[in-house]
């Protein structure tokens, strides 16, 4: 894959030419997309943990989105950066859609209801818990451990997909970082005594 810098001008020329010439646009876009198919395909393959069908689906949707949005591309960033942001958005939206099924939610404790009408004391407790947990993450975790947790819990990625996306080649990959991170957090909360621990836990 050629370096991004050397490709930037060529990409921009293609986009401008296509914006100015409707008749030639399909052919110009075809060339533009061919330049980036491997990049998008490889990233999609990592995101989908090597599943070719899913990766091709994702990549296809990315290029559809690019087509829809390209008229609004204002050359304020490199085309590759813009293309990455589209790719990331499509991938995250798909992950969100899959994750928001109730079946995937937690088995051992309750989530707040979907609506935002939770009682005030529950909200208070949760906001406090979030703040404490974030402080603990920053205080005791290595950056890579925190990133693995973010990708798994906030973005909803599977551990094998995280291995690929972060290029982890240690023996148990992301799982090892996840286990280590939880152990450190557990010790951190336990070390702060039962009072602190209770405050960080559900009060219901």
């Amino acid at each position: 894959m050629p370096p991004i810098d050397s490709d930037r001008q060529a990409d921009e020329q293609l986009v401008r030419a296509a914006q100015q010439d409707a008749a030639a646009a399909p052919q110009l876009l075809d060339e533009l997309f061919r330049r980036h198919q491997r990049r998008v395909g490889a990233w999609a393959l990592r995101w989908c943990d090597g599943r070719t069908e899913d990766a091709a689906d994702l990549a296809q949707e990315v290029f559809l989105r690019v087509q829809e949005k390209l008229a609004g591309f204002r050359f304020e960033s490199a085309f590759t950066t813009w293309l990455y942001l589209v790719t990331r958005t499509v991938a995250l939206n798909r992950a969100d859609a899959a994750r928001r099924r109730p079946a995937v939610s937690l088995e051992e404790h309750e989530l707040d209801p979907e609506d935002s009408a939770a009682p005030a004391d529950e909200v208070a407790s949760r906001a406090q818990q979030v703040a404490l947990l974030r402080a603990a993450v920053v205080a005791v975790l290595e950056p890579l451990e925190a990133r693995v947790l973010h990708l798994h819990y906030t973005d909803g990625l599977t551990l094998p997909a995280i291995d690929r996306l972060l290029g982890l080649d240690n023996k148990s990959g992301a799982k090892a970082y996840l286990v280590a991170a939880k152990r450190k957090l557990r010790r951190h909360f336990e070390g702060r005594g039962p009072g602190a621990r209770a405050a960080a836990e559900e009060e219901a």
């Binding site: 090597g50 290029f63 790719t87 973010h150």
Partner: protein
């Protein structure tokens, strides 16, 4: 009684605690830094933040992977690319804009709309058209100043007023001391359509919620800021938006 779950074993709490905060730089800037699209000084400042922020660190790592292949087999990548190419020209399939447009509007449509609409007729890819409607990504904006709506205690950035197409996200200016923001989307009668909570100053509409919004319709939204004890610190005005069809 809810059983006690330690915070480090609570996925919902972890998702919030590890999310983006009001101090995080925009995603566009992080991606640009990771992909070498900025000056050295700009990049260094962004990467310094990313080094100590779980969310931004992860963003930079994901974006960097876009420039550097690895973690996957070349032959597998080739199979994905072959499938893209086999499906048709360019992206795989040339596809129209998601919104069907009125016949009279066609001459005023941008270049893309004209050729893509024509291609739709030729290729007939209805199922993909459906698929592409289910998940609208947020608008990708470039750097630059953003207008805000004042009047409430929280200044609202976007969307405000007339917007092209269903917005992908809602954003506002940070409030000092806020631990959590609560967002609510309302219909024209002021009844809640949905919403949620975030530690960031941006709330991405999930496909289910975005799917309830229609073009040529009016909605409203508001956001309130809570401190770490759950007390409301501030709230925005109720901001009206009118969703215009995607074609300009």
């Amino acid at each position: 009684m809810t059983p006690r779950v330690p915070p480090e074993e609570n996925p919902e709490l972890l998702a919030l605690a590890l999310g983006r905060t009001s101090e995080c730089p925009p995603l566009e800037r992080l991606a640009a830094a990771a992909l070498g699209d900025l000056t050295e000084a700009e990049r260094a400042a962004l990467l310094a933040h990313a080094e100590r922020c779980p969310a931004c660190g992860a963003e930079v790592a994901l974006a960097a992977g876009f420039a550097e292949p690895g973690g996957v087999d070349d032959a597998e990548v080739e199979r994905v690319v072959e499938r893209l190419r086999a499906a048709g020209p360019g992206a795989g399939r040339v596809l129209a804009f998601p919104a069907p447009r009125a016949a009279g509007a066609r001459s005023a449509a941008p270049v893309w709309a004209r050729w893509a609409a024509a291609a739709l007729v030729v290729l007939g890819v209805g199922f993909l058209w459906q698929a592409s409607r289910t998940a609208l990504p947020p608008e990708i904006t470039g750097p630059g100043t953003i207008d805000v709506v004042r009047g409430g205690e929280i200044e609202v950035e976007a969307p405000v007023g007339e917007v092209n197409g269903v917005p992908g996200a809602l954003s506002w200016r940070p409030v000092a001391g806020a631990a959590l923001y609560r967002v609510e989307l309302l219909d024209v009668a002021g009844d809640p359509l949905g919403g949620g909570e975030t530690v960031a100053t941006r709330f991405e509409l999930d496909p289910a919620l975005a799917g309830r919004l229609r073009e040529r319709a009016r909605y409203a939204w508001r956001v309130s800021a809570l401190d770490a004890s759950g007390r409301e610190l501030a709230r925005s005005a109720v901001v009206e938006i009118s969703i215009l069809p995607v074609s300009k």
